[in-house]
Symmetry: C2
Subunit: 229 residues, 2 copies
């Protein structure tokens, strides 16, 4: 057995609240497990289209269940998910194309790991899934970037970059990679173990995921394991 860190990729879109849960849990575990976490901003709309899937909220009972499920999970996971007033408008009409292009641009400019990508992703999630704020306009993305610690100059540069063809292509390419891993929704976590890619859909396979990579699941807050037991 090699003792080198296992690569774990998280494919996500900020329009997906379950992705936020998965994102926070994996960010908490990146220093607990012997893993190299790679954040992969992708487009959920592209995955749904490519896979022929349809949004779970289109089934009325699923929509009702999702709200109760997310409220319970958010509390248990300590992630401040709060439903926007018009979730359908936010998810299906406004969408996340600009936000995911912006995050792809952040990733493009990243110099050390995914540090800034993690921060900006979180700030955008807070906007859409906590504070019911817009994430489609340049000023919204700018605000999130500044809150995450980017300078005004860096934000300005990203607002140019995120409209460029290479960034659009990169987002498309990452989304296609997720589809190759059989994505039909997000989050999709892909663990590379012994040369094999093991994909886990959703934010409810962490115990199994830990088992697959030879680690221990200590609950959604590994720094507070007693909260779980």
């Amino acid at each position: 057995m090699s003792s080198s860190r296992k690569v774990v990729e998280l494919f996500y879109d900020v329009v997906s609240p379950y992705s936020w849960l998965g994102f926070e849990v994996l960010c908490r575990y990146r220093n607990v497990w012997n893993i190299e976490l790679r954040l992969r901003p992708s487009l959920l709309g592209g995955v749904m289209k490519e896979s022929g899937n349809r949004p779970p909220a289109m089934v009325p009972n699923k929509a009702v269940y999702m709200q109760s499920d997310l409220n319970r999970l958010a509390k248990y996971f300590s992630v401040p998910v709060c439903f926007p007033e018009n979730p359908f408008e936010v998810m299906f009409e406004k969408g996340s194309l600009n936000a995911m292009r912006f995050l792809t641009a952040v990733s493009e400019k990243e110099t050390s790991g995914d540090v800034m990508l993690e921060r900006v992703s979180r700030e955008i999630w807070k906007r859409i899934w906590s504070n019911d704020q817009d994430i489609t306009l340049p000023e919204s993305l700018s605000e999130a970037g500044l809150k995450a610690g980017l300078s005004a100059t860096e934000v300005e540069e990203l607002l140019q970059l995120y409209k460029s063809q290479p960034v659009k292509d990169r987002l498309k390419h990452t989304t296609e990679e997720a589809v190759k891993h059989m994505a039909f929704g997000f989050p999709l976590t892909v663990c590379h173990v012994d040369g094999k890619a093991e994909a886990f859909f959703g934010s409810d396979r962490f115990e199994l995921l830990a088992h697959c990579i030879g680690e221990k699941w200590l609950g959604p807050q590994p720094d507070k394991p007693t909260a779980k037991m």
Copy 2:
């Protein structure tokens, strides 16, 4: 806090392999947690129709994922799930109507708790989701009943009863109850806590479910907690 046992209902259909996982885990925990487990055989087809949902396997990527997910979970949960040669034929063409009526009849004749219902359900699951055997013909149900420990006379009686109107009505009624709890698929576990019904879909919310009923999650095999940690 009352120390009386919390009622936990499991709505399931033997056509659903995820239901089998949930069933085995809850049967293992019925003597570990302070719960009264009530097995509620229901019809998945009815729930899908009522809720307007469609089978997950209709999305090709989901179908591929489900197979890998179930193989991993089956191993981790120690439940011998094995895909039949023609899963589509088994799930969508042959279905489980007779089997669920038979289990409803078993439940009708049950004298002490769900003892026989648990055993016969397991034997039918073994047929469809482990041994690739038929579960639609009377002789198949008879075999499962005998293996579960029913006498030949009891099986004969059940094979009369399961075609009766009261049994058909009862299955329909149980399925409607599941839909009232917002079911859009199975398994659906409904926990009654402080006068409120908390519904959990799927076999991946046990840690959260335990938290909701004030119990501890010790992994899928509570008698072997070390296997998890």
